[in-house]
């Protein structure tokens, strides 16, 4: 009813100074810097992360070098098979670690969505969830294709991911949980300005790290990135991401603590092999 009146108050707008192409290029460069920093740090941190049965350094079959992470060989749990190498003429994929996932996608999505809610509520009983569509729970996606940005046929990905806005009291953040079939690469941490990275060891032999970073260039936004290899459990990996907008002039106040994120990632129900 008042829209026209407001439009008259605004009047004629001068030409925009918002350069969308420059904005896209800047964001693209920032994303590459984050990935590059992670890749550089992988070499330095892999020794810490690969104690025990993990062996590092064997190049991926077919001569490809993964762009993200370090190739891992024989990172299998006892009794776990390795996907056989492709026959000539097939797309060259480094092998997955562990057996194929046989659970149908719709059933897996439903099961993992419930498991994600349960995992969060187990550590934060007052937590509330809201998806992009306003529903209470997680938005679920299933990816079964090469990772974006890598050479065709190089690094396959098999993941179920759930995203939601989690609120605990007055604090809230964007929470993402990714349950992946372990592949021929590992994530590493470090190399990001202002970030802290701590190794994580789970009760069943899981190894990984928790990265915490305040994005100073992003107007008081903070991110927490937890990566956990469940090689000793079920040949899967878990990634938990939490992004929080900090109040102006204050510190980020995430709805979940670092310990809670670790407990979520260690939840045995977050598995591709129920």
């Amino acid at each position: 009813m008042y829209h026209d009146l407001f439009e008259r108050v605004i009047g004629d707008a001068p030409p925009s100074t918002v350069d969308i192409e420059a904005l896209v290029c800047g964001q693209r460069r920032a994303a590459k810097r984050r990935i590059a920093g992670t890749v550089v740090a992988v070499v330095a941190t892999t020794g810490l992360l690969t104690a025990g049965a993990l062996t590092v350094g064997r190049p991926a079959p077919g001569g490809h070098t993964p762009l993200f992470g370090v190739p891992v060989a024989s990172a299998t749990a006892p009794g776990v098979s390795v996907t056989p190498p492709p026959t000539p003429g097939q797309t060259t994929y480094p092998p997955f670690v562990g057996p194929p996932v046989t659970e149908p996608s719709p059933a897996a999505r439903q099961r993992l969505e419930a498991a994600m809610r349960h995992a969060v509520l187990a550590v934060a009983p007052a937590a509330a969830f809201r998806t992009g569509n306003g529903a209470s729970g997680f938005d679920m996606r299933h990816v079964d294709q090469p990772i974006a940005g890598t050479p065709p046929g190089n690094i396959p990905s098999f993941t179920y991911s759930g995203t939601t806005v989690v609120r605990v009291g007055i604090r809230q953040g964007d929470l993402s949980i990714l349950v992946a079939r372990a592949g021929p690469f590992r994530e590493g941490c470090g190399g990001l300005p202002g970030a802290t990275c701590e190794p994580v060891t789970g009760p069943r032999g899981e190894t990984g790290f928790l990265l915490s970073q305040v994005l100073a260039s992003d107007h008081r936004e903070a991110q927490y990135h937890l990566w956990l290899d469940r090689a000793g459990v079920d040949a899967g990996t878990i990634t938990v991401d939490l992004m929080v907008d900090a109040p102006a002039g204050g510190q980020p106040d995430p709805p979940l603590t670092a310990d809670q994120l670790v407990h979520i990632a260690e939840d045995p129900a977050l598995t591709l092999y129920p």
Partner: protein
């Protein structure tokens, strides 16, 4: 971000650029700041595009980013403005219709959060619930903060309206 996703993102922001600039201008009353706020908004949206693009009401989400970007700006001491600013000098006295002048004075006089309520409710035509959700306040707070704006709009348009 995949190239296809980036193209989708680019199409979205190009289509929303001018409407968001105009909304930002109502909030901050300065075109330079409005463009800054829109850039901040699009930057945040880029990083969250993978999750945001499938939202049922993506426009509301983007308006929320913009509104919070502006409220954050206002909280910075060096950017804080007097809540009772006079009407800008660029407005020629008597040079604009009374209803436009009244709304301009209203927007200049109210504090930032109340201005956001007025813009979201009466310019963006959002419901009380949607406005409350974006600002993270109760519906009662939205109603009370919109009351003064509503009265001023009634006077400006000199016609009965429903709340």
């Amino acid at each position: 971000m995949l190239r296809a996703d980036e193209d989708e993102y680019r199409q979205f922001v190009v289509a929303r650029l001018e409407p968001l600039r105009r909304m930002a201008f109502l909030l901050c009353r300065n075109w330079h700041t409005a463009d800054d706020l829109v850039s901040i908004t699009f930057g945040k949206l880029y990083r969250r595009w993978g999750r945001a693009r499938d939202m049922e009401n993506l426009d509301a989400y983007v308006r929320a980013i913009l509104t919070h970007a502006w409220l954050d700006e206002r909280r910075r001491p060096w950017r804080r403005e007097d809540a009772t600013d006079p009407v800008p000098e660029s407005v020629a006295p008597g040079g604009e219709p009374p209803d436009v002048a009244m709304l301009r004075r209203l927007l200049a006089a109210v504090p930032p959060r109340q201005r956001a309520v007025i813009v979201l409710r009466f310019y963006c035509d959002l419901s009380v619930a949607q406005t409350a959700d974006i600002l993270g306040i109760s519906e009662g707070a939205v109603k009370s903060q919109a009351a003064r704006g509503l009265e001023a709009l009634r006077q400006a348009t000199a016609q009965p309206v429903e709340e």
